[in-house]
Amino acid sequence: MNPLALDGVTLVLLIPAGAALLLAILPGYRLSAFLNVLACLATFVAALSFFVRKPEPSDYFLIDDLNIVFIVLNTFVGFTTSIFSASYIGHEIETGRLTRAQLRFYHAMYQIMMFGMNLALISNNIGLMWVAVELATLTTVMMVGIYGTHEAIEAAWKYFILGSVGIALALFGTILVYMAAQPVVGEGLQGMVWTVLIERVAEFDPALLNVAFVFLLLGYGTKVGLAPMHGWLPDAHAEGPTPISAVLSGLLLNVALFAVLRFKMLLAANPAAIAPGPLLALLGLVSLIFAAFMLYRRRDIKRLFAYSSIEHMGIITFAFGMGGALANFAGLLHMTMHSLTKSGIFFAVGHIAQVKSTQKIADIRGLTETHPMLGWGLVFGVAAIAGAPPFGIFMSEFLVVTSTFARAPLLAGLFIFGLLVAFGALLLRLHEIAFGEPVGSRAPAKASYLPMFAHLALVLCAGLYLPPALVAWFQAVARLLG
């Protein structure tokens, strides 16, 4: 595969990179917003091409069952978020919270972030994956701090420090993996290529692999926002512009978890190394229960859904931690559903915050009365994220609970306890926001409802009927994950 061939892989990378350069130059924000949408659409189409013709793996790029789904999901949510961002940005300019120069910077960063994430997903070289994740993180750090208010700076600073420490730990883990591979695979590039590693991992030194996995789990775990390392996530979500919160919650957490899964497969293949399952399950459960309790005292609507993202990342990690065909299938399904639902919710939250010009839950009341579309959209979104059945997330939670309850009743009990506490908190806040005596401005919101309702429709459809092709993929990957 010479790099010049115009196949899917190059397209998926070149389009965002090119668009970033172009957008950095263009002054007008309306045109650049449209271009941004166009670029994301093109990337999405390129990603779809993988379904048609899957390019064979090379030293640097790899398309296999696991990441093909995430690439498509990633580009699709990126595309819908760009549509949302186009209408969101318009309002920000009017209220003067962002200047034109900042918008140029914003659109360029948006595309670089998409480039970073796509690179991380399709890279075969674990070092390249590390660089890509680092790049995506740095761009989101900048965008979180774009508003320049006290809280935004503080959130960006916290995100940067914690992110850098996390990424440093991940790098150390990557080096350890290379050190473990080097005596078996030989020096040079081969030691970093994942496909080579996965075949020969049985002969690696188990102790070194264990230490490597610990560092990788904590390093990329910081990016996933699992409990002990979650510090940056709530403030980054709350203070950055909402499209960024949607992308952060919907995509970046998934990309980081994808990286952890890559290394979990490595470790699972080496019998001598310690089983990665219990470690993941422990972290997942801690995040779930911790985030569930933190939801109660939240006063800011975006921070509320940030903690909900931590909770759902906990659920997904717990599912992969439990392992087995059913639980892995549930984990993959949950990742897809969560990114769709959470970004849908953030679309609604973005417009709500703009219409009510506040993010404080206390100042938003009776939304289903004043803004029915937004109000009911949020109600269905929160019902979906809280795991109410007709929506897709219930199916994954159903599978996780039933498959774990037979094997480890206590764990399933704790899992259910976490779910119930989180459900209580989310619904408590939803009641304050969506119902009751309306408060605040009743000006109709000029907003694009398309992305929000598209996401909710997809999640509802997945809850009732999963297309067989998608099911086959997930089952194949579930066996892969071990």
């Binding site: 600073w157 916290k158 420090i161 914690l162 420490v165 996390g166 730990l169 264990n210 230490v211 610990v214 560092f215 904590l218 910081t222 002990p228 390392m229 510090g231 940056w232 709530p234 310690i274 911790f290 309790f293 933190m294 109660y296 005292r297 921070r303 087995g324 059913l326 009776g366 289903t368 009365e369 019902a383 809280a386 059945p389 007709p390 219930f394 199916m395 159903f398 609970v401 039933t402 498959s403 037979a406 094997r407 399933a412 009990g413 259910i416 779910l419 119930l420 506490v421 459900f423 209580g424 908190a425 619904l427 408590l428 009641h431 119902f435 009751g436 005596e437 809850g463 009732l464 009927y465």
Partner: protein, 682 residues
């Protein structure tokens, strides 16, 4: 398309496929309601549509029940990918389909009339048809996933209906408590299914039936189902949400929630206990009996203390659910000890009470709804004397009140009589615990029946009789014809099943046989249409003859009086022991009526405390008598839990306001501890 011949007709009707298509039509109406909710013409259109579809569903279900058609299944490619969605129409689901769609038909007809006065129709119309669809789906589902999806869909939609009038503070609070308890119930059921499905994920009910669980797992599953279904039905500790949520919904919806949705929860318990869990243990019956007894007495005692009409009816739902679970507990106990006939009697009593309760509870809630529409008041202290202005509603409410108080010619007494006969059969049970528990529960059952009668004397007396206590009650007006027809139909059914209980018992027969393996003797074969629980010698009750007896004796008396006594009649002011015309406030109100009973039962159970505040000698302000009741269950169970969660949330909340350094400390701590783990066990 040629007209299907009669034989094809039966092949085509009474199948899950037809019922599912009706459910889809209902969902279509829901979307229609959402689309044109705000227009005036929308509500009669949607409600009449629902009425038609419910009527069709009712006909099919009735056909399947009466013809005792063999179970038929249907499979759709939806739901869990590798299992798909299974649906099944067997005897048990046919009975509950009849109950659901009977209530749905009545509620739709009622809503055509009273629905017009609904202040926010656009919030009710989209969800009402979906609520009906959800209930029908739950009863038809035949695998764990489809069941739980339709179960929670039903809860979600009814939650949205509870929040129709979301502006009042207590309605949103009621909605929140309701959806939280509903989700607790669903998670309990989820765990129950997890146990039955096993690690390999055999979620279809058919596969669960093939390999029934070991007794230990079956007992755990039963406990989970008792919590799950019990929280929706309103069993003792989990009933607190019911009196909050049911009154908050519009009247025809609260009638459906109380009369019909609680029955869907009973269906779930029966489907688990008698179908999926295999042979029962004897102590299962004991637990269910105990919970049923406590629920019934708690429900009726709290109902006595209420002065909000709809909340009083909701508490009565809790009481009647307790009576139903007493019947189910007896059935489980008898089946565990191999007494087939007795188990059949107990289960028939429970199912018959399910049917009766859905009838008269729906009727009573329609009555309360009519009062609310006419006067805009739910509080009995502001009503009174409505019998003069709303004679028809008063008469129909009286029939419902008489039925729920188990007075002879009506259906309430028939199912109560069967349950008492079942209690009388239980001395043959060998276990000591049951020997001591059943008489006590029998006592509780009798006490709650008597208290129910007292409570409905209060409810009817204070609301309809006496003199109007407020201008709203003074100029109330009768409700539309539609509502009256649906209430009238329900009252007629109460009479029919009261006078001819044999018909209903025979219809339930095959269902009981499939669940318990034995059935009651064919009642219609017995001369004079009387019903006999087990054998002729034991005892028999003939509704028709008693009713005829009363009618003839009344006619005789009327003729005699008409023939011999004087006809003179004079309208005079009330004697009232010589007091001149006292103001309506001197009448007995709901609080004062319940005062003796509160003194007898309330002091310990509800910490009922009365405080009299006399004004200081000089000023003219009126003396006040305040009564404060404490809900022990709420203080003992729910307040501590929410307090604990609040405390934990406060403690953990400090983690949100840490400095960057401390967050790094957390990461550092995690890294070091994991490395330690590796160093020790690596």
């Amino acid at each position: 398309m040629t007209l299907p011949k009669v034989t094809d007709l039966t092949a085509w009707t009474m199948t899950p496929q037809l019922l599912l298509s009706c459910v889809v039509v209902l969902l279509g109406f829901a979307l229609l309601g959402a689309a044109i909710g705000r227009r005036r013409s929308a509500s009669p259109l949607v409600y009449s549509g629902c009425a038609l579809v419910s009527a069709l569903l009712l006909a099919n279900a009735l056909g399947a029940l009466l013809l005792a058609a063999p179970p038929r299944t249907a499979w759709l490619a939806m739901g869990l990918p590798w299992i798909g969605a299974h649906f099944r129409l067997d005897g048990l689901s046919a009975v509950f389909l009849v109950i659901i769609n009977l209530g749905a038909l009545a509620a739709s007809l009622y809503a055509i009339g009273c629905g017009r006065h609904e202040t926010a129709p656009h919030r009710v119309l989209p969800f009402f048809p979906a609520f009906l669809a959800g209930m029908n789906l739950v009863v038809l589902a035949d695998d764990a996933f489809t069941f739980l999806v339709s179960w929670e869909f039903m809860s979600l939609v009814s939650w949205a209906l509870v929040l129709t009038h979301h502006r009042e503070r207590e309605n949103t609070r009621a909605g929140y408590v309701y959806i939280l308890m509903a989700s607790f119930g669903t998670l309990a059921l989820l765990l129950g299914f997890g146990l039955l499905a096993g690690p390999d994920g055999g979620y279809a009910f058919a596969s669960m039936r093939e390999h029934p669980p070991t007794p230990m797992i079956a007992s755990a599953a039963l406990a989970l189902v008792l919590m799950g279904a019990g929280s929706k039905a309103g069993l003792a500790p989990l009933h607190v949400w019911l009196p909050l949520a049911h009154p908050a919904a519009p009247s025809h919806v609260s009638a459906l929630m109380s009369g019909v949705m609680t029955k869907v929860a009973v269906y779930v318990f029966i489907r688990f206990a008698f179908d999926l869990l295999g042979p029962p243990q004897w102590w299962w019956g004991g637990i269910v009996l105990f919970v049923g007894g406590v629920t019934s007495i708690l429900g009726v005692l709290f109902a006595l203390m209420q002065h909000d009409l709809k909340r009083l009816l909701a508490y009565h739902t809790v009481e009647n659910i307790g009576i139903i679970y007493i019947g189910l507990g007896l059935a489980l106990a008898f089946q565990a000890n191999g007494m087939g006939l007795a188990a059949a009697l107990a289960l028939t009593a429970a199912l018959f009470h399910v049917l009766n309760h859905s009838l008269f509870k729906t009727l009573l809630f329609f009555g309360a709804g009519a009062v609310l529409t006419a006067t805009g008041e739910r509080d009995m202290e502001h009503l009174g004397g409505l019998i003069h202005r709303m004679p028809w509603t008063a008469g129909l409410f009286l029939t419902g009140a008489a039925a729920i108080s188990a007075l002879p010619p009506l259906n309430g007494f028939a199912s109560e009589w069967l349950t008492l006969q079942a209690v009388l059969l239980s001395p043959e049970l060998p276990q000591w615990a049951l020997k001591l528990l059943i008489p006590a529960v029998g006592g509780l059952l009798a006490l709650s029946a008597a208290l129910a009668a007292a409570c409905f004397v209060k409810a009817f007396g204070v609301t309809f009789l006496g003199r109007p206590r407020s201008p709203a009650a003074a100029n109330a007006h009768e409700v539309e014809l539609w509502s009256l027809t649906s209430m009238g139909a329900l009252a007629l059914l109460c009479f029919a099943f009261g006078v001819l209980p044999g018909a209903a018992i025979d219809a339930i027969g095959p269902v009981v046989e499939s669940a318990v393996g034995a059935r009651m003797p064919a009642q219609l074969a017995i001369p004079w249409l009387s019903i006999v629980p087990v054998a002729e010698s034991r005892s028999s009750y003939n509704g028709l003859l008693v009713f005829g007896f009363i009618i003839t004796s009344t006619l005789l008396v009327v003729l005699a009086i008409h023939r011999f006594a004087s006809h003179r009649l004079r309208r005079v002011p009330a004697w009232d022991c010589g007091f001149p015309d006292p103001s309506p406030a001197t009448q007995y109100t709901a609080e004062s009526f319940a005062q003796p009973l509160r003194r007898v039962f309330g002091t310990r159970l509800m910490q009922a405390r009365e405080a009299v505040h006399m004004p200081s000698p000089g000023d003219q302000s009126p003396a006040r008598l305040t009564v404060d009741l404490r809900d022990l269950v709420w203080d003992g169970l729910y307040a501590p839990i929410s307090g604990a969660v609040g405390y934990a949330a406060d403690r953990l909340n400090r983690l949100q306001f840490l400095t960057v350094r401390r967050y790094l400390g957390l990461v550092f701590f995690a890294l070091v501890s994991l490395l330690l783990v590796l160093a020790i066990w690596g």
